[in-house]
């Protein structure tokens, strides 16, 4: 009888151990990683073409008015037009993006990561799944800007 009680105590402690382990894994998945954000990937897809995307990568944020409304799914290269094609997934809740929206690639902070910023236009027609954003502005490349600045300084003097 004593033996049975001890065995049961061990079983309860092992059960507790497993439970705590899985709670820790769950905590890491939901609270620490981006899984909670990735779960609602049921939004819709938009594409945009840029002549230069800088260091934009998959999973970079897409934001409107500074609020994240989606993520970049893929960045690929179109070998016919020599442009970069950015595929974005926009949250389903944000379904009122006008079709004359302007897509910019900005940098968060001076050396931060790059993100796509959408500036809504005035059209009453909304973009739907698979549509392409027509108006885009490429990433600002720091080296190019410095080069242009030096060039204009030299030209001005």
């Amino acid at each position: 009888m004593m033996g049975m009680g001890k065995q049961r105590g061990i079983e309860i402690l092992v059960g507790l151990f497993m439970a705590v382990g899985f709670v820790a894994l769950f905590f890491l998945a939901m609270q620490v990683s981006n899984l909670s954000a990735a779960v609602n990937s049921d939004g819709y897809q938009l594409t945009a073409r840029f002549s230069n995307v800088g260091s934009l990568k998959a999973r970079s944020p897409v934001s409107m008015a500074g609020v994240r409304v989606g993520r970049v799914e893929a960045v690929s290269f179109d070998k016919d037009t020599y442009e970069a094609v950015v595929t974005m997934r926009i949250d389903a809740a944000t379904d009122t993006i006008p079709d004359d929206t302007f897509a910019n690639i900005f940098t968060a902070g001076l050396l931060g990561e790059q993100y796509v910023a959408l500036e809504p236009g005035g059209s009453m027609e909304y973009l739907r799944d698979g549509d392409e954003i027509a108006h885009t502005q490429s990433a600002l490349i720091l080296e190019q800007m410095i080069g242009q600045f030096l060039f204009s300084k030299a030209g001005g003097d």
Partner: protein
């Protein structure tokens, strides 16, 4: 003279190969013995208690302090660049990717691996293993296999606890003591730590470490010279080899997983 040296080199080389062969046969025997474990889960539960439950305290305390130190050191460095809000990313990524699996494996090798080696070595020295064999009970299936799977199962769970407690420790120091904004601590962490790339790879790492640490511990015990000195040497070797294997494998796994 030269021939004698060559012969000695050859002997040690052959001895090493033989030990490697025995170690792999033992591993194969334990992996194939999974059926025996599934038929008698009580044996596995007892080992999960020995390896998992009894390691929880040291894992929890170490995780907390490692996380707190990361929070403190990370804050001092990041604050110089005005990027203290990235503290959460730094703490979580370094814990989940590296420190959680590796430190847990080292602690388990010291806390549970050495105990496994001593236990098996003493069983061998007191001829309990031969006794089992004489009763037609396979000691690999009955004694070693449940310990092996206990270690393999316990390691990822312990590593997850280590990382989770560490993140909370970093939160306590960063947000609680040093005044980093709580919202950006979590949101930056969530946006930069990827579930598949970081968490899943960390779990894969700790499963590999679980296999390696328990395998080395059990093999050293099973292969020990059956004397008190032999068991003590095997215990030392078990911890040293396990630590070296974990650190070396960690580099290889990191290079394979996180290289772009």
């Amino acid at each position: 003279m030269i021939l004698e040296g060559l012969a000695r080199l050859g002997r040690s080389g052959l001895g090493t190969l033989e030990r490697l062969g025995r170690a792999h046969l033992l591993l194969a025997g334990m992996v194939l013995g999974i059926g025996a474990v599934l038929r008698r889960p009580g044996l596995l539960i007892a080992q999960l208690f020995n390896i998992g439950v009894l390691s929880m305290l040291i894992i929890g305390v170490s995780g907390l302090f490692v996380g707190m130190v990361l929070g403190l050191q990370g804050y001092y460095v990041l604050a110089q660049f005005g990027a203290a809000e990235s503290l959460g990313v730094m703490v979580a990524a370094s814990l989940v990717r590296e420190l959680g699996p590796v430190v847990t494996a080292l602690l388990v090798a010291g806390r549970a691996g050495s105990a496994l080696t001593a236990e098996i070595g003493l069983m061998k020295a007191t001829e309990q293993l031969s006794g089992l064999e004489m009763m037609a009970v396979d000691p690999v299936r009955r004694i070693l296999t449940p310990r092996f799977f206990g270690g393999v199962l316990a390691m990822p769970l312990l590593a997850a606890m280590f990382s989770a407690v560490g993140v909370l420790g970093g939160y306590f120091v960063g947000v609680g003591l040093l005044g980093v904004d709580s919202g950006s601590f979590w949101s930056q962490m969530q946006s930069k730590v990827d579930f598949h790339e970081d968490i899943v790879n960390g779990v894969i790492k700790s499963v590999v470490f679980g296999v390696v640490v328990t395998w080395i511990a059990l093999f050293q015990g099973h292969d020990s010279v059956p004397t008190s000195e032999g068991v003590s040497r095997a215990t030392t070797r078990s911890v040293v080899h396990a630590a070296l294997a974990v650190l070396g494998l960690d580099f290889v796994l990191t290079a394979l997983m996180f290289g772009e």
